[in-house]
């Protein structure tokens, strides 16, 4: 049984068709990367799955139609790490991660010990406990990104969507984030991330969905998807694809 089913979805921005008859399904416990050049529909796909834009077709999570769920209900099963985060915000890491408990609390159900436990678990997983009282505006971009992931984890959803979580990060931070995501998948979550770094995606993902012009061009294991032909067809450039010496995963090399 697949926990996430995307069935024939289409998304329009005004008259422009951004996603076209796109279908796939995904199981818990896997890390799936969505690759494709700018404008291929990566972000749009994530937004559709998160239920924050209009789409045609159907998306089901745990057999429930996402359109039949309220915002609060969705955010208990799907958490999202968007691409942008206001980096001048004065909130501390703890305050931000606590916001992730919003769907589990209410005006009459204030924050309890149980919520703090979820918050500290999330901060431990992302190694952000030491940032607890630091303001977002005083963090490095890598630290900030981990705090935002911690906020998403505090929602205790089983599906997490990340929009280019490693872009704008130095390579050490990028690796750091991918290790965290790998751990989440190993612990049973469904991790769906749009990526622009093909090599990082290939190293850590169980599966890669390659988008071209709003359609799925290839979908499968990294070694089946990351090929010289596919990269040429989708990105329009010639590259050399070689096997990683240790992991045997495909890695691309650019040709000047």
């Amino acid at each position: 049984m697949a926990e996430l089913r995307v069935e024939n979805i289409e998304v329009f921005y005004n008259a422009l068709r951004v996603l076209k008859e796109l279908s796939f399904s995904a199981k818990k416990g896997s890390l799936i990367s969505i690759l494709g050049p700018n404008g291929s529909g990566k972000t749009t796909l994530l937004k559709a799955v998160a239920g924050i834009i209009k789409f045609f077709g159907r998306i089901r999570v745990f057999e429930e139609d996402i359109r039949s769920l309220s915002r609060k209900e969705i955010s208990k099963i799907i958490s999202v790490v968007p691409q942008d985060f206001p980096h001048d915000t004065e909130f501390t890491a703890l305050e931000i991660v606590l916001m992730g408990r919003y769907p589990h609390t209410s005006m009459f159900k204030p924050i309890r010990e149980r919520d703090y436990r979820a918050v500290f678990d999330a901060m431990r997983t992302t190694d952000t406990l030491y940032l607890k009282d630091r303001k977002i505006s005083e963090m490095s971009s890598g630290e900030r990104q981990r705090v935002v992931i911690a906020k998403a984890l505090a929602q205790e959803a089983e599906v997490i969507l990340l929009d280019e979580p490693t872009s704008n990060l130095d390579i050490n931070y990028g690796i750091n984030i991918m290790r965290i995501l790998r751990n989440l998948a190993n612990n049973g979550m469904l991790v769906l991330a749009s990526m622009h770094n093909i090599n990082l995606a290939s190293l850590y993902s169980d599966r890669i969905i390659l988008l071209k012009n709003g359609r799925i061009f290839a979908d499968g294991k990294p070694e089946d998807v990351i090929t010289e032909e596919n990269i040429r067809a989708v990105y329009g450039i010639d590259v050399i694809v070689e096997k990683h010496r240790i992991t045997k995963k495909p890695q691309i090399m650019l040709i000047p």
């Binding site: 309220s70 955010s75 208990k76 799907i78 005006m107 929602q155």
Partner: protein, 318 residues
């Protein structure tokens, strides 16, 4: 740490309240004010204190409170340090409503202000359909100008009553009496109702995408909170005209002191608003004694330099 600030602010607003009662063309000794407040039997100044000063002090505090907290809410919702009810045309709408009702049906002051204000907000919202902040602000500013022009036109046609209306619209608390003060009490429950949404407001400062995916029903919350602030703005405008700048700068000062968490920011803005407007009112009554300067002039006159100072000193807050 924060609670000390709040104790200080509460104390200060109480102090301003007493000062408001004491100072004026007739100086009233502190003893009599205390007597009046705690024993309700001040003797010789009874009428001045009871009929003029106390309702006026109440009006200053409550209107200041609501303008400042509305400003904080707008800045959070639109994620823009420039946002306040005035910029979205809400105040101009309310002012037009007040003018129309003053000329044609005097009994429906607040209702008319509110209807015009909410209609303005609806139009601004409809124009900026995508809800993008810059579009919204531009639409608000231009519609605000249009409404001011309409108000001026109506005043031009009714030049006989114009002076009174213009003086009111410039912002003044001189209309204060018990019936006004009682209406201004409405502002308190509106503030409390807004405060209930602190959690949502906090999350919404991270942007729509974050807020929605964290479970906040952004569209619904925004509508409710905007309706509440529009209501409080209309009440303020219909009671004492357009008092500029309090709604814009007070939240910035409050943020400077307690940070941007709405749980603290809203009450801090409210208290500071009450303090600042009382202070401005004292100025407006004493500077050109025994005449009175419109308070809107005072707030803008002192507000702008202070705001510029903040801009230069702590750039990230601007």
């Amino acid at each position: 740490m924060r609670y000390k600030i709040f104790i200080f602010l509460v104390f200060l607003s109480f102090f301003m309240f007493i000062l408001e009662v004491m100072i004026g063309p007739v100086k009233i000794p502190l003893r009599d004010v205390v007597f009046y407040i705690f024993m309700d039997n001040g003797e010789k100044y009874d009428i001045i204190v009871d009929e003029i000063r106390v309702p006026r002090a109440m009006l200053a505090c409550l209107v200041g409170l609501s303008l400042a907290s509305a400003g904080a809410v707008f800045q959070g919702i639109f994620r823009n340090p420039m946002a306040e009810p005035y910029i979205l045309g809400v105040a101009s709408g309310a002012a037009l409503g007040a003018t129309v009702s003053f000329l044609y049906f005097k009994d429906f002051f607040i209702l008319s202000s509110f209807l015009f204000a909410i209609a303005t907000l609806a139009v601004v919202y409809a124009v900026a359909k995508d809800g993008e902040t810059n579009t919204l602000l531009l639409a608000g500013i231009s519609i605000s100008l249009l409404l001011s022009a309409v108000t001026s036109f109506i005043l031009y046609l009714n030049s006989k009553e114009a002076t009174v209306i213009i003086f009111t619209l410039m912002g003044t608390l001189s209309s204060a009496d018990w019936s006004n003060a009682k209406i201004s009490l409405l502002l308190l429950p509106i503030f409390v109702a807004t405060y209930i949404f602190s959690r949502e407001l906090n999350i919404m400062t991270l942007g729509d995408e974050h807020a929605k995916t964290t479970g906040v029903d952004v569209d619904k919350i925004r509508k409710i909170v905007l309706a509440l602030t529009t209501l409080s703005t209309s009440v303020s405008v219909s009671l004492c005209g357009i008092i500029g700048f309090v709604g814009l700068i007070t939240p910035h000062i409050a943020r400077f002191i307690v940070g941007q968490n709405f749980f603290y920011l809203l009450p801090a803005s409210a208290l500071l608003g009450a303090i600042l407007l009382s202070l401005a009112d004292i100025f407006s009554r004493t500077i050109v004694e025994p005449a009175e300067m419109p308070i809107g002039i005072v707030t803008t006159f002192f507000g702008v330099p202070f705001f510029l100072y903040l801009l230069v000193k702590g750039r990230k807050y601007g």
